[in-house]
Protein backbone atom coordinates (compact mmCIF):
# COMPACT_ATOMS: atom_id res chain seq x y z
CA UNK A 1 0.00 0.00 0.00
CA UNK A 2 1.35 3.33 1.05
CA UNK A 3 4.72 4.41 2.26
CA UNK A 4 3.75 4.77 5.92
CA UNK A 5 5.21 2.01 8.08
CA UNK A 6 2.18 0.49 9.75
CA UNK A 7 3.88 -2.51 11.30
CA UNK A 8 5.32 -2.59 14.82
CA UNK A 9 8.54 -0.62 14.83
CA UNK A 10 9.42 0.01 18.48
CA UNK A 11 11.14 -2.45 20.79
CA UNK A 12 10.67 -0.38 23.92
CA UNK A 13 7.15 1.02 23.69
CA UNK A 14 6.77 1.25 27.48
CA UNK A 15 9.92 3.36 27.90
CA UNK A 16 8.92 5.72 25.10
CA UNK A 17 5.38 6.08 26.39
CA UNK A 18 6.67 6.80 29.90
CA UNK A 19 9.04 9.47 28.52
CA UNK A 20 6.16 11.10 26.68
CA UNK A 21 3.95 11.24 29.75
CA UNK A 22 6.86 12.49 31.85
CA UNK A 23 7.47 15.34 29.38
CA UNK A 24 3.91 16.52 30.00
CA UNK A 25 4.05 16.29 33.76
CA UNK A 26 3.15 19.52 35.49
CA UNK A 27 1.99 21.28 32.29
CA UNK A 28 -1.38 22.98 31.92
CA UNK A 29 -3.71 21.67 29.22
CA UNK A 30 -2.73 24.57 26.99
CA UNK A 31 0.97 23.97 27.55
CA UNK A 32 0.49 20.27 26.81
CA UNK A 33 -1.29 21.01 23.56
CA UNK A 34 1.55 23.33 22.58
CA UNK A 35 4.15 20.69 23.45
CA UNK A 36 2.31 18.18 21.28
CA UNK A 37 2.28 20.65 18.38
CA UNK A 38 6.02 21.24 18.64
CA UNK A 39 6.63 17.53 18.91
CA UNK A 40 4.59 16.75 15.79
CA UNK A 41 6.34 19.44 13.76
CA UNK A 42 9.74 18.19 14.90
CA UNK A 43 8.86 14.64 13.87
CA UNK A 44 7.49 15.87 10.51
CA UNK A 45 10.88 17.27 9.73
CA UNK A 46 12.54 14.00 10.69
CA UNK A 47 10.18 12.05 8.43
CA UNK A 48 10.83 14.45 5.59
CA UNK A 49 8.27 12.89 3.28
CA UNK A 50 4.92 14.57 2.56
CA UNK A 51 3.31 11.30 1.42
CA UNK A 52 4.17 9.53 4.65
CA UNK A 53 2.91 12.47 6.70
CA UNK A 54 -0.27 12.56 4.65
CA UNK A 55 -0.93 8.89 5.32
CA UNK A 56 -0.20 9.33 9.02
CA UNK A 57 -2.69 12.19 9.17
CA UNK A 58 -5.25 9.92 7.61
CA UNK A 59 -4.65 7.09 10.09
CA UNK A 60 -4.92 9.46 13.04
CA UNK A 61 -8.05 11.12 11.68
CA UNK A 62 -9.83 7.84 10.98
CA UNK A 63 -9.05 6.40 14.42
CA UNK A 64 -10.61 9.49 15.97
CA UNK A 65 -13.79 9.29 13.94
CA UNK A 66 -14.90 6.03 15.47
CA UNK A 67 -16.86 8.17 17.95
CA UNK A 68 -17.33 5.43 20.51
CA UNK A 69 -16.49 7.90 23.15
CA UNK A 70 -16.10 11.62 23.39
CA UNK A 71 -12.62 12.45 24.54
CA UNK A 72 -13.17 13.06 28.26
Amino acid sequence: MGKLNRSRNLSDADDIYAALIAAHEGLSDEESTALNARLILTLFNHIGDADVIGEALEVATLAGQQERHKAL
Binding site: S7, R8, L10, Y17, I21, H24, A63, H69
Partner: protein, 541 residues
Amino acid sequence: MLEDRYNLAHRLYPYSRSVDQDAATPAHHQVIVIGGGPVGMAAALELGLKGIETLVLDDHEGVGQGSRAICFSKRCLEIAHRLGAAGPMMEKGVEWSLGRVFHGEREVFEFNLLPEEGHRFPAFINLQQPYFEKYLVERIRQAQAEGVPIEIRGRNKVTDIDTDSDKVALQIETPDGQYSLTADWVIAADGAGSPTRKMMGLGFDGKVFEDNFLIADVRMKADFPVERRFWFEPPFKGSGDSALLHKQPDGEWRIDFQIGWHIDREKELQDENIRARLDAMLSPMGIDYEIVWTSIYTFQCRRMEKFRHDRVIFVGDSCHQVSPFGARGCNSGMQDVDNLGWKLKRVIDGLSPEELLDSYDEERIAATDENILNSTRSTDFITPKSTISKVFRNAVLDLSEENDFARPFVNSGRLSIPATLDGSTLNTQDDLPGAPARSRPGAVCPDAPLDGDFLLDRLGGRFAVLAIGVDVPDFQGDIDADRLMFSKGQFPVLEERYLGGTEQAIYLIRPDQHVAGRWADWSIDAVCKAFGRATGMAEKG
Protein backbone atom coordinates in the same frame (compact mmCIF):
# COMPACT_ATOMS: atom_id res chain seq x y z
CA MET B 1 -5.85 -8.09 72.81
CA LEU B 2 -5.29 -10.69 70.12
CA GLU B 3 -8.14 -9.87 67.84
CA ASP B 4 -8.51 -11.23 64.34
CA ARG B 5 -7.81 -8.70 61.64
CA TYR B 6 -9.59 -10.88 59.10
CA ASN B 7 -11.86 -13.93 58.85
CA LEU B 8 -10.25 -17.30 58.32
CA ALA B 9 -10.87 -19.56 55.36
CA HIS B 10 -9.03 -22.47 56.99
CA ARG B 11 -8.02 -22.79 60.65
CA LEU B 12 -4.80 -24.72 60.14
CA TYR B 13 -2.69 -24.09 63.22
CA PRO B 14 -4.75 -23.40 66.35
CA TYR B 15 -2.94 -21.99 69.33
CA SER B 16 -1.38 -24.46 71.66
CA ARG B 17 0.90 -23.68 74.54
CA SER B 18 4.58 -24.26 73.88
CA VAL B 19 7.16 -25.36 76.44
CA ASP B 20 9.07 -22.23 75.44
CA GLN B 21 6.41 -20.23 77.30
CA ASP B 22 7.46 -21.83 80.57
CA ALA B 23 11.21 -21.51 80.02
CA ALA B 24 13.18 -19.72 82.74
CA THR B 25 15.38 -18.04 80.15
CA PRO B 26 14.22 -17.28 76.59
CA ALA B 27 14.38 -20.35 74.34
CA HIS B 28 16.62 -20.02 71.29
CA HIS B 29 15.82 -20.92 67.68
CA GLN B 30 17.96 -21.00 64.59
CA VAL B 31 15.50 -19.09 62.39
CA ILE B 32 12.19 -17.45 63.29
CA VAL B 33 9.82 -16.46 60.50
CA ILE B 34 7.36 -13.74 61.45
CA GLY B 35 4.15 -14.09 59.46
CA GLY B 36 2.42 -17.20 58.16
CA GLY B 37 1.27 -15.94 54.76
CA PRO B 38 2.37 -17.61 51.55
CA VAL B 39 5.83 -16.06 51.60
CA GLY B 40 6.47 -16.85 55.26
CA MET B 41 5.35 -20.47 54.84
CA ALA B 42 7.46 -20.83 51.70
CA ALA B 43 10.45 -19.44 53.61
CA ALA B 44 9.90 -21.99 56.38
CA LEU B 45 9.75 -24.82 53.84
CA GLU B 46 12.79 -23.54 51.98
CA LEU B 47 14.90 -23.44 55.15
CA GLY B 48 13.40 -26.45 56.92
CA LEU B 49 14.00 -28.70 53.92
CA LYS B 50 17.64 -27.62 54.07
CA GLY B 51 17.80 -28.87 57.66
CA ILE B 52 17.58 -25.47 59.33
CA GLU B 53 15.46 -25.40 62.48
CA THR B 54 12.69 -22.91 61.66
CA LEU B 55 9.84 -21.56 63.76
CA VAL B 56 6.91 -19.68 62.19
CA LEU B 57 5.03 -17.21 64.38
CA ASP B 58 1.66 -16.05 63.07
CA ASP B 59 -0.79 -13.82 64.89
CA HIS B 60 -3.70 -15.76 63.35
CA GLU B 61 -4.51 -19.46 63.41
CA GLY B 62 -4.81 -20.06 59.71
CA VAL B 63 -5.30 -18.45 56.34
CA GLY B 64 -7.59 -15.56 55.54
CA GLN B 65 -10.45 -15.50 53.06
CA GLY B 66 -10.61 -14.10 49.57
CA SER B 67 -8.93 -14.78 46.26
CA ARG B 68 -6.42 -11.94 46.89
CA ALA B 69 -3.16 -12.84 45.08
CA ILE B 70 -5.06 -15.13 42.64
CA CYS B 71 -2.54 -15.23 39.72
CA PHE B 72 0.43 -17.48 40.37
CA SER B 73 3.16 -17.27 37.77
CA LYS B 74 5.22 -19.96 36.12
CA ARG B 75 8.27 -18.98 38.16
CA CYS B 76 6.29 -19.07 41.38
CA LEU B 77 5.10 -22.58 40.52
CA GLU B 78 8.62 -23.69 39.66
CA ILE B 79 9.72 -22.56 43.11
CA ALA B 80 6.74 -24.25 44.76
CA HIS B 81 7.64 -27.39 42.80
CA ARG B 82 11.18 -27.33 44.13
CA LEU B 83 9.64 -27.13 47.61
CA GLY B 84 7.35 -30.07 46.81
CA ALA B 85 4.10 -28.12 46.95
CA ALA B 86 3.14 -27.50 43.32
CA GLY B 87 1.21 -30.73 42.72
CA PRO B 88 -2.07 -29.79 44.42
CA MET B 89 -1.76 -26.21 43.15
CA MET B 90 -1.69 -27.44 39.57
CA GLU B 91 -4.46 -29.91 40.20
CA LYS B 92 -6.75 -27.26 41.63
CA GLY B 93 -5.69 -24.17 39.69
CA VAL B 94 -7.07 -22.89 36.40
CA GLU B 95 -4.33 -22.62 33.77
CA TRP B 96 -4.20 -19.68 31.40
CA SER B 97 -1.75 -17.88 29.17
CA LEU B 98 -3.94 -15.69 26.99
CA GLY B 99 -4.90 -12.13 27.88
CA ARG B 100 -7.42 -10.05 25.94
CA VAL B 101 -7.90 -6.32 26.29
CA PHE B 102 -11.04 -4.43 25.30
CA HIS B 103 -11.89 -0.77 24.95
CA GLY B 104 -15.61 -0.49 25.29
CA GLU B 105 -17.04 -3.23 23.08
CA ARG B 106 -13.99 -3.63 20.91
CA GLU B 107 -10.99 -5.85 21.38
CA VAL B 108 -7.81 -3.81 21.06
CA PHE B 109 -5.07 -6.16 22.09
CA GLU B 110 -4.30 -9.80 22.80
CA PHE B 111 -1.22 -11.38 24.35
CA ASN B 112 -0.03 -14.93 24.84
CA LEU B 113 2.35 -15.20 27.76
CA LEU B 114 3.72 -18.61 26.96
CA PRO B 115 3.69 -19.09 23.23
CA GLU B 116 6.08 -22.06 23.27
CA GLU B 117 5.88 -25.68 24.44
CA GLY B 118 8.31 -27.60 26.57
CA HIS B 119 7.82 -26.17 30.05
CA ARG B 120 6.49 -28.10 33.01
CA PHE B 121 4.38 -25.14 34.13
CA PRO B 122 1.99 -22.83 32.28
CA ALA B 123 2.41 -19.04 32.24
CA PHE B 124 -0.12 -18.69 35.05
CA ILE B 125 -2.65 -20.48 37.14
CA ASN B 126 -5.52 -18.77 38.88
CA LEU B 127 -6.06 -20.07 42.38
CA GLN B 128 -7.69 -18.47 45.38
CA GLN B 129 -4.90 -17.50 47.77
CA PRO B 130 -6.29 -19.58 50.68
CA TYR B 131 -5.68 -22.74 48.62
CA PHE B 132 -2.13 -21.69 47.80
CA GLU B 133 -1.43 -21.12 51.50
CA LYS B 134 -3.20 -24.28 52.59
CA TYR B 135 -1.15 -26.41 50.21
CA LEU B 136 2.06 -24.90 51.56
CA VAL B 137 0.98 -25.69 55.13
CA GLU B 138 -0.03 -29.22 54.12
CA ARG B 139 3.43 -29.63 52.58
CA ILE B 140 4.96 -28.43 55.84
CA ARG B 141 2.87 -30.98 57.77
CA GLN B 142 4.07 -33.74 55.47
CA ALA B 143 7.68 -32.57 55.84
CA GLN B 144 7.34 -32.40 59.63
CA ALA B 145 6.17 -36.02 59.63
CA GLU B 146 9.40 -36.86 57.82
CA GLY B 147 11.43 -35.08 60.48
CA VAL B 148 11.91 -31.71 58.80
CA PRO B 149 12.51 -29.22 61.64
CA ILE B 150 9.68 -26.71 61.09
CA GLU B 151 7.24 -25.58 63.77
CA ILE B 152 4.22 -23.29 63.33
CA ARG B 153 2.72 -21.39 66.27
CA GLY B 154 -0.67 -19.76 65.77
CA ARG B 155 -1.84 -16.78 67.84
CA ASN B 156 1.73 -15.82 68.52
CA LYS B 157 2.06 -12.12 67.91
CA VAL B 158 5.48 -10.49 67.98
CA THR B 159 5.23 -7.29 69.99
CA ASP B 160 8.87 -6.32 70.30
CA ILE B 161 12.04 -7.03 68.40
CA ASP B 162 15.65 -6.19 69.06
CA THR B 163 18.47 -7.15 66.73
CA ASP B 164 22.21 -6.88 67.04
CA SER B 165 25.11 -8.43 65.20
CA ASP B 166 24.85 -11.84 66.85
CA LYS B 167 21.21 -12.50 67.65
CA VAL B 168 17.63 -11.27 67.65
CA ALA B 169 15.42 -11.03 70.74
CA LEU B 170 11.62 -11.22 70.39
CA GLN B 171 8.76 -10.53 72.72
CA ILE B 172 5.63 -12.52 71.89
CA GLU B 173 2.02 -12.15 72.96
CA THR B 174 -0.26 -15.19 73.20
CA PRO B 175 -3.65 -15.99 74.74
CA ASP B 176 -1.63 -17.17 77.78
CA GLY B 177 0.33 -13.94 78.04
CA GLN B 178 3.79 -12.82 76.98
CA TYR B 179 6.99 -14.78 76.51
CA SER B 180 10.40 -14.17 75.00
CA LEU B 181 12.49 -15.93 72.38
CA THR B 182 15.84 -15.42 70.74
CA ALA B 183 16.96 -16.42 67.26
CA ASP B 184 20.08 -16.42 65.14
CA TRP B 185 18.08 -15.01 62.24
CA VAL B 186 14.62 -13.57 61.76
CA ILE B 187 12.75 -13.49 58.48
CA ALA B 188 10.05 -10.83 58.46
CA ALA B 189 7.21 -11.95 56.20
CA ASP B 190 4.45 -10.01 57.89
CA GLY B 191 2.98 -8.25 54.90
CA ALA B 192 2.68 -4.72 53.55
CA GLY B 193 1.68 -3.34 56.95
CA SER B 194 4.65 -5.17 58.53
CA PRO B 195 4.55 -4.64 62.30
CA THR B 196 8.19 -5.80 62.38
CA ARG B 197 9.20 -2.96 60.07
CA LYS B 198 7.29 -0.49 62.21
CA MET B 199 8.71 -1.79 65.50
CA MET B 200 12.18 -1.36 64.03
CA GLY B 201 11.31 2.17 62.93
CA LEU B 202 12.21 1.50 59.30
CA GLY B 203 10.82 3.50 56.39
CA PHE B 204 8.71 2.31 53.47
CA ASP B 205 8.64 5.04 50.88
CA GLY B 206 6.93 5.25 47.56
CA LYS B 207 4.01 6.47 45.61
CA VAL B 208 0.30 6.29 46.42
CA PHE B 209 -2.15 5.85 43.57
CA GLU B 210 -5.36 7.75 44.01
CA ASP B 211 -7.88 5.17 42.99
CA ASN B 212 -9.94 2.42 44.56
CA PHE B 213 -10.67 -1.02 43.24
CA LEU B 214 -13.58 -3.16 44.26
CA ILE B 215 -12.84 -6.90 44.13
CA ALA B 216 -15.62 -9.43 44.06
CA ASP B 217 -15.33 -13.21 44.08
CA VAL B 218 -18.59 -14.44 42.60
CA ARG B 219 -19.93 -17.90 41.93
CA MET B 220 -21.69 -18.09 38.58
CA LYS B 221 -22.25 -20.19 35.52
CA ALA B 222 -20.68 -18.28 32.68
CA ASP B 223 -19.10 -19.43 29.48
CA PHE B 224 -16.32 -16.86 29.27
CA PRO B 225 -13.23 -18.62 28.00
CA VAL B 226 -10.30 -19.24 30.33
CA GLU B 227 -8.31 -16.09 29.70
CA ARG B 228 -7.61 -12.81 31.40
CA ARG B 229 -10.06 -10.19 30.20
CA PHE B 230 -9.53 -6.51 30.80
CA TRP B 231 -11.80 -3.64 29.77
CA PHE B 232 -10.84 0.00 29.55
CA GLU B 233 -14.04 2.06 29.79
CA PRO B 234 -16.20 -1.10 29.87
CA PRO B 235 -19.34 -1.19 27.75
CA PHE B 236 -21.31 -2.20 30.85
CA LYS B 237 -21.81 1.32 32.20
CA GLY B 238 -22.05 1.83 35.93
CA SER B 239 -19.63 -0.95 36.85
CA GLY B 240 -16.37 0.95 36.91
CA ASP B 241 -13.82 2.84 34.81
CA SER B 242 -12.05 -0.42 34.09
CA ALA B 243 -12.86 -4.05 34.77
CA LEU B 244 -10.80 -7.21 35.05
CA LEU B 245 -12.16 -10.74 34.90
CA HIS B 246 -10.43 -13.98 35.88
CA LYS B 247 -11.76 -17.51 36.12
CA GLN B 248 -11.02 -19.35 39.37
CA PRO B 249 -11.54 -22.90 40.61
CA ASP B 250 -14.85 -23.99 42.23
CA GLY B 251 -17.01 -22.18 39.67
CA GLU B 252 -15.87 -18.84 41.03
CA TRP B 253 -14.83 -15.76 39.09
CA ARG B 254 -12.80 -12.82 40.25
CA ILE B 255 -13.91 -9.39 39.09
CA ASP B 256 -12.06 -6.12 39.81
CA PHE B 257 -13.75 -2.78 39.14
CA GLN B 258 -11.92 0.54 39.20
CA ILE B 259 -14.27 2.79 41.17
CA GLY B 260 -12.47 6.11 41.60
CA TRP B 261 -10.74 7.94 44.44
CA HIS B 262 -13.48 9.96 46.10
CA ILE B 263 -15.75 7.19 47.30
CA ASP B 264 -17.50 6.31 50.51
CA ARG B 265 -15.85 3.00 51.27
CA GLU B 266 -18.50 1.70 53.67
CA LYS B 267 -21.25 2.57 51.25
CA GLU B 268 -19.50 0.93 48.30
CA LEU B 269 -19.12 -2.26 50.32
CA GLN B 270 -22.84 -2.50 51.00
CA ASP B 271 -24.37 -5.49 49.32
CA GLU B 272 -26.81 -3.50 47.16
CA ASN B 273 -24.05 -1.25 45.80
CA ILE B 274 -21.80 -4.15 44.94
CA ARG B 275 -24.76 -5.85 43.27
CA ALA B 276 -25.50 -2.73 41.24
CA ARG B 277 -22.02 -2.87 39.70
CA LEU B 278 -22.12 -6.61 39.13
CA ASP B 279 -25.62 -6.38 37.67
CA ALA B 280 -24.43 -3.75 35.19
CA MET B 281 -21.88 -6.24 33.90
CA LEU B 282 -23.67 -9.56 34.23
CA SER B 283 -27.42 -8.93 33.91
CA PRO B 284 -27.34 -8.02 30.20
CA MET B 285 -25.80 -11.46 29.63
CA GLY B 286 -28.53 -13.06 31.74
CA ILE B 287 -26.01 -14.40 34.24
CA ASP B 288 -27.07 -15.18 37.81
CA TYR B 289 -24.37 -15.00 40.42
CA GLU B 290 -23.73 -15.36 44.12
CA ILE B 291 -21.25 -13.13 45.95
CA VAL B 292 -18.57 -15.09 47.79
CA TRP B 293 -16.20 -12.41 49.08
CA THR B 294 -15.62 -8.72 48.44
CA SER B 295 -13.09 -6.10 49.36
CA ILE B 296 -11.94 -2.64 48.32
CA TYR B 297 -8.29 -1.97 47.84
CA THR B 298 -6.09 1.00 47.12
CA PHE B 299 -2.45 0.53 46.41
CA GLN B 300 0.98 1.95 46.59
CA CYS B 301 4.26 1.23 44.90
CA ARG B 302 7.02 1.36 47.49
CA ARG B 303 9.94 -0.49 48.96
CA MET B 304 12.32 -0.44 51.88
CA GLU B 305 15.71 1.07 51.25
CA LYS B 306 17.42 -2.13 52.40
CA PHE B 307 15.84 -5.54 52.95
CA ARG B 308 18.43 -6.83 55.40
CA HIS B 309 18.92 -5.19 58.76
CA ASP B 310 21.58 -7.09 60.68
CA ARG B 311 19.94 -10.40 61.47
CA VAL B 312 16.43 -9.43 60.43
CA ILE B 313 15.74 -10.03 56.75
CA PHE B 314 12.56 -8.79 55.10
CA VAL B 315 10.80 -10.77 52.36
CA GLY B 316 7.64 -10.28 50.29
CA ASP B 317 5.19 -7.43 50.83
CA SER B 318 6.86 -6.45 54.09
CA CYS B 319 9.69 -4.89 52.06
CA HIS B 320 8.07 -4.15 48.71
CA GLN B 321 4.58 -3.38 47.56
CA VAL B 322 3.35 -2.96 44.00
CA SER B 323 0.05 -2.36 42.28
CA PRO B 324 -1.78 -5.60 41.50
CA PHE B 325 -1.62 -5.14 37.72
CA GLY B 326 1.00 -7.61 36.67
CA ALA B 327 0.74 -10.21 39.43
CA ARG B 328 4.01 -9.05 40.89
CA GLY B 329 3.19 -9.28 44.60
CA CYS B 330 3.16 -12.84 45.88
CA ASN B 331 5.09 -13.98 42.82
CA SER B 332 7.99 -11.69 43.70
CA GLY B 333 7.82 -12.69 47.37
CA MET B 334 8.33 -16.29 46.31
CA GLN B 335 11.38 -15.20 44.33
CA ASP B 336 12.71 -13.45 47.45
CA VAL B 337 12.53 -16.76 49.30
CA ASP B 338 14.14 -18.56 46.37
CA ASN B 339 17.00 -16.07 46.39
CA LEU B 340 17.51 -15.95 50.15
CA GLY B 341 17.20 -19.61 51.12
CA TRP B 342 20.43 -21.03 49.77
CA LYS B 343 22.44 -17.98 50.78
CA LEU B 344 21.24 -18.09 54.38
CA LYS B 345 21.94 -21.83 54.47
CA ARG B 346 25.53 -21.29 53.35
CA VAL B 347 26.04 -18.52 55.89
CA ILE B 348 24.52 -20.59 58.71
CA ASP B 349 26.74 -23.53 57.77
CA GLY B 350 29.79 -21.27 57.76
CA LEU B 351 30.47 -22.01 54.07
CA SER B 352 30.10 -18.40 52.94
CA PRO B 353 30.71 -15.10 54.71
CA GLU B 354 27.76 -13.08 55.96
CA GLU B 355 28.38 -10.63 53.09
CA LEU B 356 26.76 -13.16 50.74
CA LEU B 357 23.49 -11.95 52.24
CA ASP B 358 24.18 -8.47 50.89
CA SER B 359 23.68 -9.97 47.43
CA TYR B 360 20.11 -10.79 48.48
CA ASP B 361 19.60 -7.06 48.92
CA GLU B 362 21.38 -6.25 45.68
CA GLU B 363 19.55 -8.80 43.55
CA ARG B 364 16.08 -8.52 45.00
CA ILE B 365 16.16 -4.72 45.18
CA ALA B 366 16.97 -4.66 41.46
CA ALA B 367 14.09 -7.07 40.85
CA THR B 368 11.81 -4.96 43.03
CA ASP B 369 12.67 -1.81 41.12
CA GLU B 370 11.80 -3.59 37.88
CA ASN B 371 8.48 -4.69 39.37
CA ILE B 372 7.73 -1.21 40.67
CA LEU B 373 8.61 0.36 37.31
CA ASN B 374 6.35 -2.01 35.40
CA SER B 375 3.48 -1.82 37.80
CA THR B 376 3.71 1.97 38.05
CA ARG B 377 3.55 2.29 34.27
CA SER B 378 0.57 -0.04 34.04
CA THR B 379 -1.18 1.92 36.73
CA ASP B 380 -0.45 5.22 34.99
CA PHE B 381 -2.05 3.79 31.85
CA ILE B 382 -5.07 2.31 33.62
CA THR B 383 -5.68 5.31 35.90
CA PRO B 384 -4.18 8.30 34.04
CA LYS B 385 -3.16 11.03 36.46
CA SER B 386 -3.79 14.03 34.22
CA THR B 387 -6.03 15.13 31.39
CA ILE B 388 -3.25 14.83 28.83
CA SER B 389 -2.24 11.41 30.12
CA LYS B 390 -5.81 10.25 29.58
CA VAL B 391 -5.84 11.82 26.11
CA PHE B 392 -2.76 9.81 25.14
CA ARG B 393 -4.14 6.66 26.76
CA ASN B 394 -7.34 6.93 24.75
CA ALA B 395 -5.41 7.82 21.60
CA VAL B 396 -3.51 4.54 21.98
CA LEU B 397 -6.76 2.65 22.44
CA ASP B 398 -8.41 4.39 19.47
CA LEU B 399 -5.47 3.67 17.18
CA SER B 400 -5.15 0.09 18.40
CA GLU B 401 -8.52 -1.00 17.11
CA GLU B 402 -7.41 -0.77 13.49
CA ASN B 403 -3.67 -0.42 13.77
CA ASP B 404 -1.50 -3.21 15.06
CA PHE B 405 1.49 -0.88 15.43
CA ALA B 406 -0.18 0.95 18.34
CA ARG B 407 -0.91 -2.18 20.36
CA PRO B 408 2.44 -2.49 22.12
CA PHE B 409 1.54 0.75 23.94
CA VAL B 410 -1.61 -0.80 25.41
CA ASN B 411 -0.77 -1.51 29.04
CA SER B 412 -3.31 -3.31 31.20
CA GLY B 413 -0.53 -4.92 33.23
CA ARG B 414 2.83 -6.33 32.18
CA LEU B 415 2.57 -9.72 33.76
CA SER B 416 5.17 -11.10 36.09
CA ILE B 417 8.16 -12.70 34.47
CA PRO B 418 11.11 -13.89 36.56
CA ALA B 419 13.74 -11.29 37.35
CA THR B 420 16.91 -11.62 35.32
CA LEU B 421 19.75 -10.67 37.65
CA ASP B 422 21.76 -8.75 35.08
CA GLY B 423 24.65 -6.93 36.67
CA SER B 424 24.67 -8.99 39.87
CA THR B 425 28.08 -9.20 41.50
CA LEU B 426 27.53 -12.97 41.79
CA ASN B 427 27.52 -13.39 38.00
CA THR B 428 30.55 -14.32 35.96
CA GLN B 429 30.79 -12.63 32.61
CA ASP B 430 29.19 -14.51 29.73
CA ASP B 431 31.84 -16.55 27.89
CA LEU B 432 29.64 -18.44 25.45
CA PRO B 433 29.35 -16.43 22.26
CA GLY B 434 26.40 -17.31 20.06
CA ALA B 435 24.33 -18.77 22.90
CA PRO B 436 20.76 -17.60 23.55
CA ALA B 437 20.34 -14.40 25.58
CA ARG B 438 17.50 -15.98 27.54
CA SER B 439 19.91 -18.29 29.38
CA ARG B 440 22.64 -15.69 29.99
CA PRO B 441 24.28 -15.28 33.41
CA GLY B 442 21.69 -13.88 35.81
CA ALA B 443 18.72 -15.44 34.02
CA VAL B 444 16.46 -18.12 35.46
CA CYS B 445 17.17 -21.36 33.62
CA PRO B 446 14.54 -21.85 30.93
CA ASP B 447 12.81 -25.17 31.47
CA ALA B 448 13.13 -27.92 28.84
CA PRO B 449 11.65 -31.39 28.45
CA LEU B 450 13.99 -34.35 29.06
CA ASP B 451 13.25 -38.06 29.47
CA GLY B 452 9.65 -37.79 30.67
CA ASP B 453 10.68 -35.13 33.14
CA PHE B 454 11.92 -31.57 32.88
CA LEU B 455 15.28 -29.89 33.28
CA LEU B 456 14.20 -27.85 36.31
CA ASP B 457 13.24 -31.08 38.11
CA ARG B 458 16.93 -31.93 38.09
CA LEU B 459 18.20 -28.50 39.12
CA GLY B 460 17.75 -26.55 42.30
CA GLY B 461 18.58 -26.77 45.97
CA ARG B 462 22.27 -27.25 45.16
CA PHE B 463 24.74 -25.80 42.70
CA ALA B 464 24.95 -27.70 39.43
CA VAL B 465 27.21 -27.91 36.42
CA LEU B 466 25.21 -28.51 33.25
CA ALA B 467 27.25 -29.74 30.29
CA ILE B 468 25.84 -30.19 26.81
CA GLY B 469 27.88 -31.83 24.05
CA VAL B 470 31.04 -31.92 26.16
CA ASP B 471 32.37 -34.28 28.81
CA VAL B 472 33.13 -32.89 32.21
CA PRO B 473 35.45 -34.82 34.54
CA ASP B 474 34.45 -35.49 38.13
CA PHE B 475 35.05 -32.26 40.02
CA GLN B 476 33.94 -33.30 43.51
CA GLY B 477 36.53 -32.07 45.93
CA ASP B 478 36.94 -28.85 43.98
CA ILE B 479 33.32 -27.70 43.79
CA ASP B 480 30.33 -28.87 45.80
CA ALA B 481 27.91 -29.16 42.90
CA ASP B 482 25.86 -31.72 40.99
CA ARG B 483 26.94 -32.71 37.50
CA LEU B 484 24.44 -33.04 34.64
CA MET B 485 25.76 -34.12 31.25
CA PHE B 486 23.86 -34.44 28.00
CA SER B 487 25.26 -35.49 24.67
CA LYS B 488 24.58 -33.57 21.52
CA GLY B 489 21.38 -34.54 19.73
CA GLN B 490 19.78 -35.99 22.85
CA PHE B 491 17.28 -33.25 23.65
CA PRO B 492 16.69 -30.72 20.86
CA VAL B 493 14.62 -28.27 22.94
CA LEU B 494 17.31 -28.19 25.63
CA GLU B 495 19.88 -27.41 22.95
CA GLU B 496 17.75 -24.70 21.41
CA ARG B 497 17.47 -22.99 24.81
CA TYR B 498 21.06 -23.48 26.00
CA LEU B 499 23.25 -23.85 22.92
CA GLY B 500 21.57 -21.73 20.29
CA GLY B 501 24.17 -21.40 17.57
CA THR B 502 27.02 -22.99 19.55
CA GLU B 503 28.21 -26.59 19.50
CA GLN B 504 28.72 -27.23 23.19
CA ALA B 505 28.30 -25.52 26.53
CA ILE B 506 29.10 -25.63 30.22
CA TYR B 507 26.74 -23.84 32.60
CA LEU B 508 27.20 -23.19 36.31
CA ILE B 509 23.75 -22.99 37.89
CA ARG B 510 22.88 -21.68 41.34
CA PRO B 511 20.62 -23.46 43.83
CA ASP B 512 17.85 -21.01 42.88
CA GLN B 513 18.12 -22.13 39.24
CA HIS B 514 19.70 -18.89 38.05
CA VAL B 515 22.68 -19.11 35.69
CA ALA B 516 25.92 -18.04 37.41
CA GLY B 517 28.24 -18.41 34.41
CA ARG B 518 28.66 -20.22 31.10
CA TRP B 519 31.53 -21.27 28.86
CA ALA B 520 32.23 -23.13 25.65
CA ASP B 521 34.95 -25.34 27.11
CA TRP B 522 35.52 -27.04 30.42
CA SER B 523 38.03 -25.36 32.66
CA ILE B 524 38.07 -26.31 36.31
CA ASP B 525 39.79 -23.02 37.11
CA ALA B 526 37.11 -20.92 35.41
CA VAL B 527 34.26 -22.84 37.05
CA CYS B 528 35.93 -22.74 40.48
CA LYS B 529 36.39 -19.03 40.17
CA ALA B 530 32.77 -18.54 39.14
CA PHE B 531 31.62 -20.75 42.00
CA GLY B 532 33.67 -18.64 44.42
CA ARG B 533 32.16 -15.48 43.03
CA ALA B 534 28.60 -16.85 43.16
CA THR B 535 29.03 -17.89 46.79
CA GLY B 536 30.48 -14.59 47.94
CA MET B 537 33.91 -16.06 48.53
CA ALA B 538 35.79 -14.21 45.83
CA GLU B 539 37.01 -10.65 46.07
CA LYS B 540 34.75 -8.32 44.15
CA GLY B 541 35.89 -6.48 41.09
